[in-house]
Subunit: 350 residues, 2 copies
């Protein structure tokens, strides 16, 4: 911004005919000041529409009331719900938040941490699943470590392997396992999983938890039954289309999409193809984003306390951590709705 003729504290002080210090004191309520001076300063400030320079305040050792939030994609309901939780407690604590949207670009994520560090944000909250990538972790750590060394707080939602940060951990594994169990209990024996990029820890955890539970029940899940696609609605749509290309007898009776958004895409694909859900195929998602209960059929999913995820993360970031990174685990709960049912033609074991 091409610094216009900003009104400064000095202007206010002069206009009120008091010293700089006095003006500062009344504006900040730091110390008591004679009433008449107080009034003069206040009216001068409002007269001049004075706005303190936060940069100068910060520099002079005043407080930083700003925290940073790094989010994969605000327009994804999952992330925006979590971000909402973060903002709620930030708001409650009188904090300003700088919300960065990385558009799912790992590099941009690192760049933003750097920028937030420059801003001297008092805390940084990382929202979104981490990338399983050595060099990325190294780059991230190179920013985060010095930041924390000078007192910066960091908290993350989801598992970040290499980073030793406070984290709020939804039970991806357990939730997926519980879902698998419920689905097997319904009688399904032939599954497909619509998975996102394997480098995302969230994807791995969910797929693994699901697969292991299936295995525990003696239900196979071959590699070709796990379709990797993009981590969004269109990914789910596309993967479901692929499934539909298979001959009917080789199709699964139940499809687990690792996120609700992907499940929504899958539902759309099935509807277009005239494949009835849950008549011909059951569909389940994960997250329980607000809209899925209003779908037809309402989506079976694993419910995560989305807002809480954000709230707890901000909580962690607000109270200085002691020695080791803390972990807050939040439960996941299977919500059976209409998109899943007993399979029509139960598969016999081969």
């Amino acid at each position: 911004m091409k610094s216009g003729p900003h009104v400064t504290l000095a202007d206010v002080a002069q206009s009120a005919d008091v010293s700089l210090a006095t003006a500062s004191r009344v504006l900040n309520g730091t110390a008591s000041v004679r009433t008449d001076l107080r009034d003069r300063v206040m009216s001068a400030a409002s007269e001049l529409a004075y706005a303190p320079n936060a940069h100068a305040q910060a520099l002079a050792g005043g407080t930083h009331r700003t925290v940073g939030v790094i989010c994969h994609d605000v327009s994804d309901p999952y992330f925006s719900a979590v971000a909402g939780g973060v903002m709620k407690v930030a708001n409650g604590n009188g904090l300003l938040v700088m919300l960065a949207d990385t558009f799912r670009d790992p590099d941009r994520e690192v760049a933003y941490v750097s920028a937030l560090r420059a801003q001297r944000a008092s805390a940084i909250v990382l929202i979104g699943s981490a990338f399983e990538d050595r060099s990325w972790e190294r780059a991230m750590a190179a920013e985060l470590d010095p930041y924390r060394r000078v007192g910066g707080q960091v908290a993350a939602v989801s598992r970040h392997r290499g980073l030793k940060v406070d984290t709020v951990l939804p039970d991806n594994r357990g939730g997926a396992a519980a879902l698998a169990k419920a689905l097997v209990g319904l009688g399904h024996k032939r599954f497909a999983v619509l998975a996102g990029p394997a480098r995302l820890t969230t994807v791995c955890d969910r797929v693994d938890g699901f697969a292991e539970e299936l295995a525990a029940h003696g239900v196979p899940l071959s590699d070709e039954d796990v379709l990797e696609t993009t981590f969004d609605r269109d990914g789910g749509y596309e993967a479901a289309k692929r499934l539909l290309e298979r001959p009917k007898r080789r199709r699964p009776t139940c499809v687990f999409a690792v996120t609700d958004l992907m499940a929504i895409g899958a539902l759309a694909a099935f509807r277009e193809a005239g494949v009835s859900v849950p008549g011909e195929v059951s569909v389940a998602g994960f997250d329980n984003i607000p809209v899925v209960r209003d779908l037809t059929p309402a989506l079976t999913t694993v419910a995560l306390p989305l807002e809480q995820l954000g709230e707890r993360a901000m909580d962690l970031a607000l109270k200085a951590s002691g020695t080791r990174p803390r972990t807050v685990r939040l439960g996941a709960e299977v919500v059976l709705r209409e998109s899943t049912a007993r399979p029509k033609r139960p598969h016999r074991p081969l």
Copy 2:
């Protein structure tokens, strides 16, 4: 943040055995410096994990690379889509954005502008419908005017009566009118409108546009056919419930919810009550948030270019405005889908 022992430019300079000025020059590429010095500074900086103090930079007259965005509610798909657009172009211009969530509290909105002003944000983008409220407008103007006087850029999405700011204006009125026309064309003669708080300009524009077009076709819309409720999914649900309390013959054949989210709530209420859509009642929304095409029945709505709304607003905020506030109008387009159909039992005029 309790200022830890931050690494400063001076530290880097000393460690590299050069002057402060030299260190500054290489780090900013401001001027050419001898290669060996350059290298020494660079490695010292990286060795010490130096992060420039953005506050000091800003204060010293350097550039501000941060803009502010004020958003009603990030977890509402409409706002998050628009916010996504804003972030996209901010990102593209190397800007850091401070995203504030007001949780639909008008006062908080003013408070945030004040904070952003203190941060010397180079631009402020207002996302969300304005409040038709004299004293609110006054308070807002009291912050905005001085801000712009010193070169601050302001842009808003939606109509803000009292504020003379650059604005991106979706065609709420025209879109609603076009929708009304289409619905009348389908044969509907008895409508209900699920409206949000009348103080929101967006609500007014949509309701008025709809009502006027109906009137133009000789279709009445009495006051009791416009149900005021909250501006969210639950509001739509609740209002639809109220509709269902009426005796069947007094029910509308078509319901227009002023936002898609409200329409989703209404759809849920009808489904619960066993009222078929569009069999017994047609439902239409407004906005075309991503998920509505995936509903069953897919929702008829008025499509707004949500991301573009944000993009254009950021564009406006980035290029200094000349004299008078500019207005960018963006069209709205009716998208007929399955949630609307010809009424089963066309009403005869009384």
